[in-house]
Symmetry: C2
Subunit: 346 residues, 2 copies
C-alpha cells in the first residue's frame, strides 16, 4: 500500500538489479520476464507475477542506453534537414516524427542550415550515437559522405537526391511538377514565361527546369517565349530577378517561381511596379504553405506531397532496418507526383 505511492520514488534508480534483489529472482529472470519473454523461457507463473508486480510498483523503466549497448539497437533514427525553420521541412519533420513514433522509434534532429560541414558533423554524430537509420535532406552536391555512411547504417534521402547513385530516396517528381505548372500557365493563355530558379546544382531545381522547358517545347505553340533566371531559394533572388526583367525591354507575362520564398520576392517586386495579378502578370509557385491562400490573390501552386514523402521514406527506412535482408521487391528510388492547387494568381 505504500510501495506504490512512495513519494521518494527516485524515478531513475530502479534497475533489473534492484528488482532482482527485492524479489529474490536473478537479474536474468527479471530481464526475461520484463522483456515479455517469460513464457518463452519457461519462467514460472509465480515468478512472472511477482516480478511484474514489483516492476509496476517501483515504476521501472529500462535503461535504453544499457539496452542499446548490449543489443546494438537504439530505436533512434537521425533526421537532418537544411532548416527546420522552413515550413516545408518542419512539415516533413512533423510527419516523420509522428509516423516514426508509431513504429517505436525516436528521432534525433539536426539542422544542417544548408551547410555541408554541418551535415557532416550531424551524420558523424548520428553514427557515434548508433542510430538505427538516417533520413536526410542532403545539402551539397556530392553523395560521397552519405554513401560512406550508408555502408554502416541504412540511409534514405528525401526531397533531394543525387543522380548516378544507388542511395535510396523519395522525393517530389519535380519534372512533372515543372511540367504541370508550365502547362497550366500556357493553358491560361500566357505566352512569355519566366522561370525563377533556386539552387542551380540541386536535382530538384534541374528537374523543374527540364519540366519547364519540355512543357514549352512540347506545347506545339511556336509563339511561346521563355527564359530561366535566378539563383537561390531566397526572396532576394525572387525580388531582384523579377525587378530586372520587369525593367527590361521584354517583361514576361507570367512567372514560375520555384519556391515560396522566391515567389514572395517576386510578389514584392510586382507590387512595387504596380502591376495587377493575374491580369498584367500571372504567377505560379512551387511549395506548400497555408498562407498562400491568404495572400491577395491566393497563389496558384504546385504542392509537394509532403505526407506521402514522409511516410514512404519512413516505411522504407524501417523496412531496411528491420527487414530480413533487403527485400528485393523494394523499389529504392521513388518520386511522387505533386499536384496543382489553384489560387487566382494566374
Amino acid at each position: 500500500m505504500d510501495s506504490e505511492t512512495d513519494p521518494e520514488a527516485m524515478t531513475s534508480k530502479e534497475s533489473l538489479q534492484t528488482i532482482s534483489e527485492r524479489t529474490g529472482y536473478s537479474v536474468s529472470t527479471v530481464s526475461r520476464v520484463l522483456a515479455g519473454k517469460g513464457e518463452q523461457y519457461r519462467i514460472g507463473r509465480r515468478a512472472i507475477e511477482t516480478i511484474t508486480a514489483e516492476a509496476q510498483a517501483c515504476n521501472y523503466r529500462p535503461d535504453l542506453i544499457a539496452k542499446g549497448l548490449r543489443t546494438r539497437k537504439t530505436n533512434t533514427i537521425g533526421l537532418t534537414v537544411p532548416g527546420i525553420d522552413n515550413p516545408f521541412f518542419s512539415n516533413l519533420a512533423s510527419i516523420i516524427t509522428n509516423h516514426l513514433k508509431g513504429l517505436g522509434y525516436n528521432i534525433l534532429l539536426a539542422d544542417t542550415m544548408e551547410a555541408e560541414e554541418m551535415e557532416a558533423d550531424a551524420l558523424n554524430s548520428f553514427l557515434s550515437r548508433k542510430v538505427d537509420g538516417i533520413i536526410a535532406v542532403p545539402v551539397g552536391e556530392s553523395p560521397e559522405m552519405l554513401e560512406r555512411i550508408s555502408r554502416s547504417v541504412p540511409v534514405v534521402l528525401i526531397d533531394r537526391y543525387f543522380p548516378d547513385t544507388t542511395l535510396p530516396y523519395v522525393c517530389t517528381d519535380n519534372y512533372y511538377g515543372g511540367l504541370s505548372a508550365t502547362r497550366h500557365l500556357i493553358r491560361k493563355g500566357y505566352r512569355n514565361l519566366l522561370a525563377i530558379q533556386g539552387v542551380l546544382t540541386s536535382m530538384p531545381n534541374k528537374e523543374r527546369v527540364r519540366g519547364f522547358e519540355d512543357a514549352v517545347r512540347n506545347s506545339g505553340d511556336k509563339g511561346i517565349r521563355y527564359a530561366v533566371t535566378g539563383d537561390g531559394f531566397s526572396s532576394e533572388n525572387g525580388y531582384e530577378s523579377t525587378m530586372k526583367v520587369l525593367e527590361s525591354g521584354n517583361p514576361p507575362d507570367a512567372i514560375f517561381a520555384f519556391s515560396t520564398t522566391i515567389m514572395l520576392g517576386a510578389l514584392t517586386a510586382i507590387r512595387e511596379k504596380g502591376l495587377k495579378i493575374p491580369d498584367d502578370i500571372g504567377i505560379i509557385s512551387f511549395d506548400n504553405n497555408r498562407f498562400l491562400d491568404y495572400l491577395d490573390p491566393p497563389i496558384t501552386r504546385i504542392e509537394q506531397p509532403a505526407p506521402q514523402i514522409g511516410r514512404t521514406a519512413t516505411d522504407m527506412l524501417v523496412k531496411m532496418i528491420e527487414g530480413s535482408q533487403m527485400e528485393d521487391s523494394m523499389e529504392g528510388q521513388i518520386s511522387i507526383r505533386p499536384f496543382l492547387v489553384e489560387g487566382r494568381s494566374c
Copy 2:
C-alpha cells in the same frame, strides 16, 4: 599512404579495443589519450603520437552509447513541442537546436500534438534514454508529471508555464504583449475592441486577456467598449468568432487576435463581409511569421522574442546540467517582453 584511404574502412567496427591491439597499448591508455587526457595521466609522447595517428587513420569515433552508459552523461537533451508544424515552434526548435549544438548537445525531438498522453510518453521516453535535460512546451494544465520528472533531470519550460510551481521557465511577457497590442489599438482611435482568445486555460492566454482588459481600464477613456470571445488557437475559432460578432448588433471596430491562426480566420470572415482593413475594422495579431508582411494589408502584430526565449532557456538548462549545484544567482522564472511590429492593418 593506403591506410588513410582504405576503401573498406568499415566505419563502425573501430573501438578502443581494436586500436589497442594494433598499437600495442592497453585499452585504458588508448582511452585516456583519445580523451585528451594524455598529459594529465602522464602518457608518453610516443604513445600519444602512435595512438592519435592510428585513431586518425582508422577514423575512430567513440561509441557514445557505451560512453553514456559508463559516464551517465549522454549529451542529449529532449525537446517537446506541441506541433513542430507550427512556425512558432519550429522557429523555437531551430534556435534551440542550433544553440545547443554549439554547446555540445544533440536533441531528441518529440511532437506532443497538444496531447497530454503523448507528452507523458515523450517524457518517459526521454527518461529511459537518459537525456541530460529537457526543454518542454508543456501541454495540459497540470504540472504534476513535469514536476516529478524534474526531480530526476533538469527541466526548463518554454512559452507556457504553470502558476504556483517552482519549475523554471522562460516565456513571452504575455501580459505586456496584451497590454501593448491593446494600447496600440486605442492609440489608433479604435473604441470597440474584441479580443479573440486561444486556449482558455493556458497561462499565456490568461495573461494576454489580463493585459487586454487592464489596457482598456487604465486608458482613462470611459467610452471604450471591449469583449473577449473565442476558444482555441485555430483559424476556425477566428473565423466563427469574427462572423458572429460581425453579424451581431454590436460589431467591433478592431480585433485583437491572439495568434496568427486566429487572425487568418478572422481575416477570411472580414473579407467575406466585404469590410476594409484598417478603415472599417482594425486588426492586430500575436505571433511571428514572415508571411504577415506579405498579406494585404501587412498585419500589425506583437512579435514574440523567440530567439531570446530559445537561447535563454538553453543556457539556463545547460547551467543546471553542468553547474556546480544550483547557482543561486540564477533567476529561474523569466518572461521576456515582446515587441510591436507595425503593418498597416490598424
